[in-house]
Point group: C2
Chain length 229, copies 2
Amino acid sequence: MTTLTDVTDSATAKGEQTRELILSTALRLFREQGYGKTTMRAIAAEAGVSVGNAYYYYSSKEHLMQAYYDHLQAQHREATVEILAGDKSFTKRLTGVLRSWLEVSAPYHEFAGTFFKSAAEPKSPLSPFSEQSQPAREASIEIFRQVVEGSDLKLPPDLRAELPELLWLLQMGIVLFWVHDDSEGLRRTHLLITSTVPLIDRLLRLTRIPGVRGVVNDLVGVIRQVKTI
Amino acid sequence: MTTLTDVTDSATAKGEQTRELILSTALRLFREQGYGKTTMRAIAAEAGVSVGNAYYYYSSKEHLMQAYYDHLQAQHREATVEILAGDKSFTKRLTGVLRSWLEVSAPYHEFAGTFFKSAAEPKSPLSPFSEQSQPAREASIEIFRQVVEGSDLKLPPDLRAELPELLWLLQMGIVLFWVHDDSEGLRRTHLLITSTVPLIDRLLRLTRIPGVRGVVNDLVGVIRQVKTI
DNA sequence: CAACCGACTTGAACATGTTCAAAAGCCGGG
DNA sequence: CCCGGCTTTTGAACATGTTCAAGTCGGTTG
């Protein structure tokens, strides 16, 4: 028997080791010398396997980057736990989450550009809007859902329901900014977060004004419409 | 003698012809078979020159795409003239400009993804935020300046000054959406424009409400700050 | 006119992501 | 023990963007 496939984790016994080996080697090289300078041949050589073997497990170089992305996502999630358990203040929660993303991602800032490049292509599985990244995207939105739910924010239910996704979009915007930010210490991105978050808070509180409320409702309507159809 | 070309246009005589030839051939092939499937060898062969020669004029395949982008930009500019001469209604002007962009770009929708991919990389000259594309960017913002200036829109001067750039950002967002839009006839993007523009108009008019005014002023402040520092 | 200079052109060579047919292990059944 | 069928592994071959040393060509200068 031994048809292997019953175990949760080590799906295919031996091969799984090779897979891990290739991935970890690749990630290390990416970090050490950047994505562009790391060749598939180098990865294979360093891992002590053949090029073809690397392709047996990862159908492309991009695919290896995908794995890195998942890694990052998990790290961020972990980093937010503490923050989301603590304060009830909306701005603090949001700032904390965004900041922690920045921290987790900082070591990869330099080669994030390349990642971004691949992610931009609509058909790429790396695209944040793609089918394949739906799990990662939802995990990310889930974090923002917790930001909202655990906070003291008072909002009309419609908007509140839509908010996590909007905050995720905000995060995408910040990432876009971050990728382009070459100020030292990522000063500008930090500044962006520091000044944007309170502003968002204030904007959200404006929805109590009747005249504003109507427009916002329509805005939510448009967002839903665009998402669906 | 026969130096034939003293014409305004042709900077370096003969070579300029070759340059044009290569470019037009490339653009044609891009349109006919997509960017990815068009090889530099094919372009060279079709144009009747050597590969090296193509590289003499265009330092990379991407560079050829850059040229296409400029081409598009010019076409759009031309298409907007009529619209901007006509109506005074802000929403009509804005809708017109966005729609005409859609029309001009439609033939390239399929291969725009690839373009987008390159443009996403921060260091790429194709990036809408890059140094190299500053002229194109400013030309584009200029269009939106005309949208605002020729319109009946009443706004606090601060916001009014910032608005063209914000509208340009909106356009970037729409492009992002457009690239991912595979509904037939680009229905979804059209819908997005149709429903977003009036909403923006309403949002802008909200700035008359005192409570809103303060927040918006701060928002403008943040934008300026982020742009500068 | 011959030498020369710089713009232009060439094609072979290179680097690297990717593919693929074949070999090597591995394993349970006859 | 050997066979047939799988997973895994190999390395050479391929496709394609890019580079480069060397050639060509047209005009300018002595």
